[in-house]
């Protein structure tokens, strides 16, 4: 089961690549922000899987903090940075 959890964690880690691709590609600021959201959720899942695999309860606290703070960053984006961003890349 440990191996299984870790393998799934690895798989999720790889899917983060998709998020990064979207963050790089854009084109709009909203797209980039979305990708960070995906990143956050997937990372929460990875942390939970690691917590189970290694029996480290503390990692669930890390995941909790992750979930909370990701929301704060996203709100900061919506309320502050977005207003000023030029919404398209010169691609």
């Amino acid at each position: 089961m440990q191996l299984f959890n870790l393998a799934l964690g690895l798989l999720l880690l790889m899917t983060l690549g998709g998020g990064i691709w979207r963050a790089l590609r854009g084109p709009s600021a909203a797209d980039r922000m979305l990708s960070v959201q995906v990143f956050g959720t997937a990372a929460v899942a990875v942390l939970l899987l690691l917590a189970q695999a290694f029996g480290q309860a503390a990692l669930r606290d890390v995941a909790l903090a992750f979930a909370l703070l990701a929301a704060v960053t996203a709100v900061a984006f919506v309320r502050r940075a977005w207003a000023e961003e030029v919404d398209c890349d010169p691609e």
Binding site: G18, A30, Q52, D87
Partner: protein, 99 residues
Amino acid sequence: MILSDYVAAVLLLVGVFFFLAGTVGLVRFPDVYTRLHALTKSDNVGLGFVVMGLAVEAESWFVVGKLLLIWMLVLLAGASVAHLIARGATQRGVRMWTD
């Protein structure tokens, strides 16, 4: 492996599948609204299944409670942020993809 292990494994696999689907959507879908859709649905459902899978194996109710709390938080934040982003995008005149 006992039965609960199998149940957990299946739930986890389903969860990861949703994550994968969400990521594919994020990469392939044509505009911000469709991507938003792919992402929020699949991610939250994906995390939900992962949480369920882990809850089956959890050592105590406290852990189950914490797992559920984390999921609820992600749901709440994900839904609100998705709404705010979609709203913001509409207000900024990001056009919807039409074929």
